[in-house]
């Protein structure tokens, strides 16, 4: 009985020590910019993966073709036909993407802005963030504003060499200074996640559903639209709920308004180690 209790308390001690070590190790890893930069570099090929699986399978099959010359030729020709067919299928997609990019580029409001492709969206990332494919090498800096369809949706929170993380203004707990367009009333909106915000104003202020909200620190452009106004008789304040006019799960490209000189070359130890010798 005693040996069982001793064994059990030892097991609990080991568990607690392991948990403390894991927490310390995790903090060190997550806080290290170089480690995070390396992780983002490792993930880039995965995020960029857009080759149809049939093409991959076709290339693998080609490696195992038989030695008989006729069968080898037939297999090679078959694979070539498959690839050409897949490339033909991709053409409409690439054409549509090209047109969309040109349209977005023409509609830029700021001259010093970059177009970035979204690698991971809020439905994949748990922090209400975008991972985008422009980073320090392209001139992106922490704090740069991120626009979607000319609506300011967030700021760059972390910058790596080739990627960066944009945190949405609607991230849970994040406070943003906004203003109601019709009344010029300034207030603090608290993010609820997924493009939703909540704010409290005194009851006497006339605010209605459909009123537009603008972002005070950035520009006087549309930021959100008031969805609901809740007021109880006993409460001196009324609660306003509003939402970004953009569907985050369907965003493919974002515009990053960069400050300072463009492009900015960011040299890191990781960059130097990975630079090819030319």
């Amino acid at each position: 009985m005693k040996s069982f209790q001793r064994k059990r308390s030892r097991s609990v001690r080991v568990l607690i020590i392991s948990a403390i070590l894991a927490l310390v190790g995790g903090t060190v890893i997550v806080a290290s910019p170089d480690v995070r930069d390396a992780a983002h570099r490792a993930m880039l090929p995965v995020w960029n993966l857009s080759i149809p699986s049939e093409r991959i399978a076709g290339n693998v099959i080609a490696l195992f073709r038989t030695r008989a010359s006729l069968e080898r030729d037939i297999e090679a020709l078959r694979n070539e036909v498959k690839q050409l067919q897949l490339e033909t299928l991709e053409l409409p997609i690439l054409r549509a993407e090209n047109e969309r990019l040109q349209e977005l580029w023409r509609r830029r409001v700021y001259e010093n802005s970059l177009l970035g492709r979204v690698l991971a969206r809020p439905n994949v990332t748990p922090y209400d963030t975008f991972v985008i494919d422009v980073g320090g090498r392209d001139g992106v800096g922490a704090g740069d504003i991120v626009l979607v369809e000319q609506v300011a949706v967030g700021r760059i929170s972390s910058v790596f060499a080739k990627t960066s993380i944009a945190q949405l203004f609607s991230a849970p707990g994040v406070e943003t200074n906004v203003s109601i367009a019709t009344s010029s009333l300034s207030l603090t909106a608290t993010g609820l996640g997924a493009g939703n915000f909540i704010a409290e104003v005194p009851r006497g202020i006339d605010i209605r559903e459909g009123d537009t909200v603008v972002l005070m620190d950035v520009s006087e452009r549309l930021f959100a639209v008031v969805e609901r106004v809740e007021a109880e008789a006993s409460d001196p304040f009324q609660t306003i709920r509003f939402q970004l006019p953009v569907t985050m799960s369907k965003v493919d490209f974002v515009e990053v308004v960069v400050d300072g000189v463009y492009p900015i070359r960011v040299e890191t130890e990781v960059d130097a180690a990975l630079e090819p010798d030319i």
Partner: protein
């Protein structure tokens, strides 16, 4: 799975694994999520460690609760 599906789907699988095994990989999952997607959030004083702490707490809670579940006796 972390790379391709929603974080909550991966979280559900992690929870199942925790009850089935002593899955230390779940803590690693939390660290990887924070490393790739972490952003400062007010809840933790601006530190992007929500999933590291969350996965650790969940791991310890599940290990502790296993002692009281008939299934594991």
């Amino acid at each position: 799975m972390v790379m391709f599906v929603s974080w909550w789907a991966a979280g559900l699988v992690a929870l199942v694994l925790l009850f089935r095994y002593r899955a230390y990989e779940v803590v690693l999952w939390g660290i990887v999520i924070d490393m790739l997607y972490g952003a400062p959030i007010p809840i933790l004083g601006g530190i992007p460690l929500l999933f590291t702490v969350g996965s650790l707490v969940t791991f310890l809670a599940v290990e502790y609760s296993k002692r009281f579940l008939v299934f594991y006796t």
